[in-house]
Symmetry: C2
Subunit: 433 residues, 2 copies
């Protein structure tokens, strides 16, 4: 990648936390439990507070980050940093790259021996927290191969996509209270289920979901607010993006299918959403911009982007680890380029009526599936809604079982300049009584 | 009402802010711009900060409210007060009633002459603010007469209600960022519209909504959080309620009808929601508890309440003031009892899958319409989706026009013990460029 280079921090060329990445997260340690801003580099979380003030202070980073009230560095969220705005965050990343670049350590850090652990926290010892305070969470449905596959399952190929699908980025308001950071276990939800869904009379029962699924998505955090009533033009929308995360929109298919007509998904989705701990800056993904799914429908002017390469070609992977086994099995591989709508288009659409966005708002892309079955971003697609179990070593899966750990991974870029988000994982626990 | 009585504050017997009410709000004044907790009494907002400390201090209120960090009284929201929990808030209301009761003023307040304006802020000089920081907003659909009328319009009487309607409180996640307090003007939204909705081919255009509507709803604020994964039993749910507001869920019917299949309302709703400034405590509504719409469907156990009188008989009124006129015209009168589901049932349903609620979360009841056409809680119903204009003096309305002010009012209880929320009003402005 263009902005890669050599660092005095030893970094495995295959590390997703190269000098080209520098994602932000919120970290704490056993020794120092206050959550604070960290930057992932190699096998470490660089504790920004230790180089913005004190004996190891970097003048430039201190000037950019210190002295805000409330503090934006020793803070339980990245919202303060994000609210600085695009140019200032860019300056912080540039100063970080400068601080970490070159072959010799800055003189304030021991010239040899292990890196001081209070500055460079080994990732294995870093407790990661939810990176942002999320005001509102919106989940879109821009993964057209997913929308088409699911539509075929329920309505057949001729009516698979609804008439509005190619005219606007379809989305719904999700639940922000239940968004958790990678590693947080999830309880299987209980709820009303009509089983079979064709039952007549339509008499539901209440019980644990038997169709617990994941959804592979890319998430996008908003930096700047807009005024209520004021639409964000699509070609300005990139200035409102703070960064990206991996997102698993856990879904209970049986609860969802009974509840969702006419007002959309509710308890089938709101029990949990997991995101990766590290927020990747858009500049880190700039080298892998590409074109998304071609939209053959004439676009309304407010959705027409000047830029053609409006999505990212991030390699995505879904792994399952079952309770009996220590082995992870990869069940899908695809790319984040399989979207019909870009995040700038989602922002333009979300605000066309005047809806206000706030710093820390989260957008989900919608489930990302590639065109082939091995590229499916959900078990609903892989198992054809439970009809075709997947072989997982000696066991089989239609939907998730208690004890399963679902892991999303992503990587972009070439050796020495790789970019990732950290894994987005969650263990499925049985429902609470 | 049971807890009414005589106050040394002169209160019009018709005032909605009787001693039986004592609703909380967030208030500021020109002289003192910091937002702080107020309590409505007669024509005043009692500034709680002036009687919780300083020369006019009431010992009991001071003990209950003062000394929290951050301060819960000189605070821009009621979240701190709400988070004290049901019993403590009850004690605060009891102490307020004691302070305001009787025929002579407490000795710390001038025995005669006008009430000191820094303690008793005339409501005409009180700037009201959004009362809570709202994490998540959920809008339900429990007004069955509304759901049935709208269903008839689009699917005919035999399929008017969806099969799930009487089994669960249908709801969707709304947008919290655009919730504003009464008096905030609203810009007419722009958006994609398919006009006519039967057009073939289905080619939308982008423009200002021509079907801007209101929805008459009751709102409910959550006090205590629950742990993620842990359902709230329906018979415990009342302990999670902080209080009630009037709510206008502004709706753009033409934007909504094009976008909402399959994931529910989005831009048709998210441009604005208006709530009343005063949050009424459940205890103030206790005397007007009644039975709601009878549900002939056997309920799932998690929705079965012990209490039969699970809704409130609050008289509701919708007024329009058009730009040309100074006169308000009442276009609907109904009661908040016309709900199929109670707020405790909505809480139980929202959490059955483990979804976490937080202090300050807001629930909307869904549009409240009575069984007769004069009791319609939306213009969609009154005008039969634009087919039958309403006469408003010399002008006519199918949907709202720029310059219209829409006002929701409510009152409960008898003379001398009336309970209201303050009005919930909004002026419609043209779209921003
Ligand atoms: Ca999703
Ligand atoms: Ca509504
Ligand atoms: Mg989710
Ligand atoms: Mg609304
Ligand atoms: Ni005084």
């Amino acid at each position: 990648m263009a902005d890669s280079g050599k660092s005095w921090v030893e970094i495995d060329p295959l590390s997703e936390f190269s000098l080209a990445n520098l994602p932000f997260g919120i970290v704490s340690t056993k020794d120092r439990p206050e959550p604070r801003v960290g930057v992932a580099i190699g096998d470490y979380a660089l504790d920004l507070s230790t180089i913005c003030s004190g004996p190891h202070k970097d003048e430039e980073l201190s000037r950019l980050c210190w002295g805000h009230s409330p503090c934006i560095i020793v803070a339980p969220t990245l919202n303060g940093l994000a609210a600085l705005g695009g140019d200032r965050v860019r300056e912080v990343r540039a100063a970080l790259r400068k601080f970490l670049s070159g072959t010799t350590r800055p003189f304030s850090i021991n010239p040899s021996g292990p890196l001081p652990a209070h500055i460079f926290i080994p990732l294995s010892e870093a407790q990661m927290h939810l990176p942002m305070v999320i005001g509102d969470y919106t989940d879109f449905y821009a993964g057209m191969h997913h929308a088409f596959a699911v539509g075929c399952m329920f309505r057949g190929p001729n009516n698979a996509l609804q008439p509005n699908y190619k005219h606007l980025p379809v989305g719904y308001h999700g639940r922000s209270s239940s968004i958790v950071v990678s590693g947080t276990p999830i309880h299987r939800p209980r709820g009303q289920i009509l089983d079979p869904s064709s039952a007549d009379p339509k008499q539901p029962a209440t019980g644990p979901s038997k169709k617990l699924d994941f959804e592979l998505e890319l998430g996008c955090f908003i930096s700047r607010p807009n005024d209520m009533g004021r639409a964000i033009p699509v070609n300005d929308a990139k200035d409102y993006i703070f960064g990206y995360v991996l997102l698993n929109d856990w879904s209970a298919r049986d609860i969802q299918s009974w509840e969702y007509v006419p007002l959309g998904p509710f308890n089938g989705k709101n029990f949990a959403t997991t995101i990766s701990p590290w927020v990747v800056h858009p500049d880190a993904l700039e080298p892998i911009r590409t074109t998304g799914i071609k939209n053959d429908t004439p676009l309304q002017p407010y959705l027409a982007e000047t830029v053609k390469e409006n999505v990212y070609d991030i390699q995505l992977e879904v792994d399952i680890k079952t309770s009996g086994s220590d082995m992870s099995m990869t069940i899908a591989r695809t790319s984040s380029k399989h979207l019909l709508w870009s995040f700038p288009q989602m922002i333009a659409h979300h605000t066309i009526g005047g809806c206000s966005l706030r710093t820390g708002d989260l957008f989900g892309s919608g489930t990302i599936s590639g065109p082939s079955p091995e590229e499916s971003g959900s078990l609903l697609e892989m198992s054809e809604n439970g009809k075709k179990p997947l072989a997982l070593g000696s066991s089989r899966r239609t939907f998730l079982e208690d004890g399963d750990t679902l892991v999303l991974r992503a990587v972009a870029g070439t050796a020495g300049a790789r970019v990732g988000f950290g894994e987005c994982s969650g263990l499925v626990l049985p429902p609470l009584s």
